[in-house]
Symmetry: C2
Subunit: 277 residues, 2 copies
Amino acid sequence: MSYGILINGHPKNTISAQDRGLHYGDGLFETIAVIHGQLRHWLRHYQRLAEGCERLKLPLPEDAVLIKEAARLSKTLERGVLKLILTRGIGGRGYRIPEAVAPLRILATYPWPDYPERFYREGIIVRICATRFGRNPLLAGLKHLNRLEQVMARSEWSDPAIAEGLIQDTEGAVISGTMSNVFLVQEGTLITPDLFQCGIRGIMRGVILDAAHEIGIPSMIRSVSLDEVYTAGEAFLCNSLVGIWPIREIIGEREKRFSLGDVTGTLRETIKVDHAT
Amino acid sequence: MSYGILINGHPKNTISAQDRGLHYGDGLFETIAVIHGQLRHWLRHYQRLAEGCERLKLPLPEDAVLIKEAARLSKTLERGVLKLILTRGIGGRGYRIPEAVAPLRILATYPWPDYPERFYREGIIVRICATRFGRNPLLAGLKHLNRLEQVMARSEWSDPAIAEGLIQDTEGAVISGTMSNVFLVQEGTLITPDLFQCGIRGIMRGVILDAAHEIGIPSMIRSVSLDEVYTAGEAFLCNSLVGIWPIREIIGEREKRFSLGDVTGTLRETIKVDHAT
């Protein structure tokens, strides 16, 4: 098993120091699970990339090109991560988008993150971050390259026993983890924050909402307060790599313990990704 | 006259595709005017960089190292631009900051931007951008690498007769231009938006506020509404490269013409940078 990188189709590991991805974070990315050499949920990832390209006025690479390059890197991967970065490329001094844009695409594979098995089985400990997300509908939902808020939130703790941190926006609405989306269960109903103002519309979030719909679990996408997290019956985090991590405990000024719940369990069975096994 | 680039002191033009500057915009930058081989306002630029490093928990490069490398690139420049980029370097999969951080510093020189002489002499035409800045005190004021909002705002127009666009925040407060800070004059008092929620604390903004103080022009730093822009007696934009650009006209749904004003003129005399000449 080996990890590799392709930049505009060529195996190399450097980019121009003039790239707009570096200068402005002018681009998008996707983080894709690779299992038995196959990309998981490729269509959903490509669809989000397409939406991001439309909103950022970036040319969307052809599906076939990305799939071919992804296959070159991932076909021998038993389990791994494919990260796709798309930038507006080199060009223009200043913010103005140059007339001839030559986008840069980077596809790179990485080892599977080695989270402890108990995170999946027993659930995780989370904390509440002091860092908040700013609100801007223009960029909300997209997986763009402006991610300083997440970096700052993740820098708040180093204790490896704490798996994730919950982040609120500047108005106090609960949005997500630093690298995951959040779901609550209240009286049998699945609730996840709307992401109209900030946050990233995660692929696994979409998979879970669709699964809930299929098996008849009612769900709501709406604004969620921090109080609701503390009064929820079940709570879990999700992303494309970990699938579902039940929240076992919230630590900090205000503490809360959750039992492993039925709705969370049913959803895990349904989406059939226990990436830890 | 030639332009060059140094990356961690070495003349090359590529960075690792794994750099956190690319992946997350995890870093800072400065854009510095070089006149007759000298960096303009270096101490102010370094001070802002230091403040940014403190807030982003980035190691600050030594003053002497940066000055030495800047001198190598700029000593033969009659007039040009030095851009300094500082990133958290390679490291860590995911947002978490790696324990051993090896920051990347890029210093590169560029030609002086060739804005028309009349922008300085007669003033400029500006428009009001639809793109808004999100509010986040955590990152407000810093010249960090998350600049998609500016890119999107600048992409709203391509008419070269329009020199700049004014940007409001999501609550409607006027913050700045896409690449400049904004000042108004109301009954002899200089007014510039506070940047507690968003925007970049520009070096020329600080120079102008200090100059106003020295020559006895009263000034206020406070929230500014769009209405106030239309009722101001004078208005101008500023940055480290252009110095002061008087606003001559605001175009769009609501139009406004300004005459060249005394306070603007006095400040231009005082700061003694007419970079166009």
